[in-house]
């Protein structure tokens, strides 16, 4: 009766024997194909320019890892990559924290209060859903420029906070919080903010962490906006700075340093995604629903 037992791990439709091996082989091929570009970039970041300009590139790493990476980190092409990494980190964390803080508060107001204009604000905020900065790029640039926020962290961060995805997520979550909790808090004479700090905030911990992962990646991987707002190389973020390392015209690019920079640009987001995989997948599925 194995067919009907719930705890039987292998049902009758899973493959065994040759079919199972074939599945593994195909899966490994898939993973290898997906990984190939990353591997090649890593190899290129460990060899010399001479190795690269005489193709084909070998498929095993060379011995110039420290040489290339220290050259990238401490001197770079226009600006040391270390500086760009710091800028990216500030931007990504600023966007993630900023968006989470303003969304926690506004969702709390929208869910737990009845106040004049609530519906209007609600819809105004929700209009910002899904309209990416790319669409309103020129006027947003003018606003930021008129505030003197070009080449500043606030210019990098604030325009990318103006969207309601996180608010939407927190609202959905607050609606699932049992009414009894708010009732008990009110009976005990707790102020709304006390209820927020002691009950809502601790309950939202997992959602906050999941959202942080998603928003960190979003912020780190921004390209067009930093490209426009940071004309000063000292303010470049690493993702947009790589393109600036290519020489204009026909000169040969410094590929080992560029590829080392590409690897450095991938390491933080990959680390965040892989180490917080469960939270990340949860956040991804929740925030898109």
């Amino acid at each position: 009766m194995a067919l009907f037992s719930q705890d039987e791990p292998t049902g009758m439709v899973e493959r065994r024997g040759a079919g199972l091996w074939l599945t593994h082989v195909l899966m490994i091929c898939g993973v290898l194909v997906v990984f190939f570009p990353i591997w090649l970039a890593f190899v290129a970041s460990t060899v010399t320019q001479a190795d690269i300009v005489s193709p084909p590139l070998p498929l095993i790493p060379g011995g110039h890892f420290w040489d290339n990476y220290s050259r990238a980190l401490f001197s770079g092409v226009n600006v040391p990559v270390g500086t760009m990494l710091v800028n990216s980190l500030i931007m990504a964390i600023g966007i993630a924290v900023g968006k989470i803080v303003i969304s926690l508060l506004s969702a709390f107001a929208i869910v737990y209060f009845r106040f004049p204009g609530r519906n209007l604000f609600f819809w105004l905020i929700f209009l910002t859903l899904m309209l990416p900065v790319e669409v309103r790029i020129v006027p947003t640039y003018e606003v930021v420029a008129s505030f003197g926020m070009l080449n500043s962290y606030s210019g990098l961060i604030f325009p990318l906070i103006a969207s309601a995805t996180a608010t939407f997520l927190f609202r959905q979550f607050y609606l699932t919080v049992p009414d009894e909790l708010a009732e008990a808090a009110r009976v005990d004479g707790a102020s709304p903010m006390r209820f927020f700090w002691d009950i809502i905030l601790p309950m939202s911990r997992t959602n906050i962490a999941a959202l942080f992962v998603i928003l960190f990646i979003y912020g780190w991987n921004q390209y067009l906006w930093p490209l426009l707002v940071t004309t000063d190389p000292e303010m470049n973020t690493i993702v947009m700075g790589i393109k600036q390392m290519f020489p204009s015209g026909d000169d040969l690019a410094d590929w080992p340093v560029i590829m080392a920079t590409s690897i450095l640009a991938m390491v933080p987001p990959i680390f965040v995604v892989v180490s917080m995989q469960k939270l990340f997948i949860r956040g991804l599925v929740d925030s898109e629903k």
């Binding site: 439709v13 593994h24 570009p37 910002t128 020129v138 009414d179 390209y223 987001p269």
Partner: protein, 293 residues
């Protein structure tokens, strides 16, 4: 849905909502209104004053063959990106779903590219296909094929499509894998008892059951191809050769910031706004339906 239990007062909630309203107003609504306003003006040749032209910018755009070509390019590009990112993802998800052990390991490895920025993905693929030093173009050369995406528009399009789809495979894989895991095993086993082979089961049972996920991914991937692939195109082709990879978002950028044609760029922004709005409506319609599943 509404809360039954709420707190009293109106000053506190307004204070709480203020930061978001302020940021949205300054960096979202004002620029969006500005875009609509600017789209009805053209600057004089010296940039000192502007002249009202009503819908003139729009008329000009739609009669402009470059802009219409950009529409076609965007359609082709997003269709290809959606296909090239969803089909391999579904294939890998079906494989992973057949495994009892090890699926988690493959998943951990397959999510890596998701974390990689489109612009960085662009640099990686550019490196592989570089006409002078790229390893793939070198092997293609050995096989007798002369790869040159700098001059050949179709090859340039192919390259930006592959580079844009690559990271997206991870994303689609995660959603397909979750959907496949949620398909009740009993239904599949019943079909197996009735003698349905794997592919028949896949097309008649599994595919219809995961169709909500498929449709959701379709919309999300089109949105991705429209707006988030700017980095790939800017790093690999810069919109060329002969504008063969200039998608609409790229054109807003190149007309507005490189060409300094603010009226036209603003009008293009407004058109994109409408496109995004339509896609959002489609998505929400779908989401509403999904609730009843």
């Amino acid at each position: 849905m509404e809360k039954r239990v709420t707190f009293k007062g109106w000053k506190l909630p307004l204070l709480l909502i203020l930061p978001q309203v302020f940021v949205s107003a300054v960096f979202f609504f004002y620029p969006a209104v500005q875009a609509i306003w600017q789209s009805m003006f053209i600057p004089d040749p010296f940039g000192l004053s502007t002249r009202f032209v009503g819908l003139g910018n729009f008329e000009y755009l739609f009669s402009n063959s470059h802009y219409r070509a950009s529409f076609v390019t965007t359609a082709v590009f997003s269709l290809l990106v959606t296909l090239c990112s969803m089909v391999p993802a579904l294939f890998l998800a079906v494989l992973a779903d057949r495994l009892v052990k090890g699926a988690g390991t493959y998943r951990t490895l397959l999510i890596w590219p998701y974390a990689i920025a489109p612009a960085v993905a662009g640099v990686l693929w550019l490196f592989m296909f570089n006409t002078r030093i790229g390893i793939v173009s070198w092997y293609l050369g050995k096989l007798g094929y002369d790869w040159n995406h700098v001059l050949n528009g179709a090859e340039a399009m192919g390259l930006v499509v592959v580079a844009s789809s690559w990271g997206r495979i991870s994303y689609n894989f995660l959603f397909f894998f979750a959907a496949l895991q949620a398909v009740p095993k009993s239904v599949i086993e019943a079909a197996a008892i009735d003698g349905a082979r794997f592919w028949r089961r896949f097309f008649t049972i599994v595919l219809p059951l995961i169709s909500p996920t498929t449709f959701f991914l379709l919309v999300v991937n089109v949105v991705y191809a429209f707006f988030e692939t700017f980095g790939v195109i800017h790093t690999i082709t810069g919109g060329g050769p002969q504008q063969s990879t200039t998608i609409l978002v790229y054109k807003v950028f190149s007309d507005g910031f490189v060409g300094q044609d603010l009226g036209s760029s603003a009008a293009q922004s407004v058109i994109l706004l409408v496109v995004v709005g339509a896609l959002t409506v489609v998505q929400f319609k779908f989401l509403e339906k999904r609730v009843h599943y």
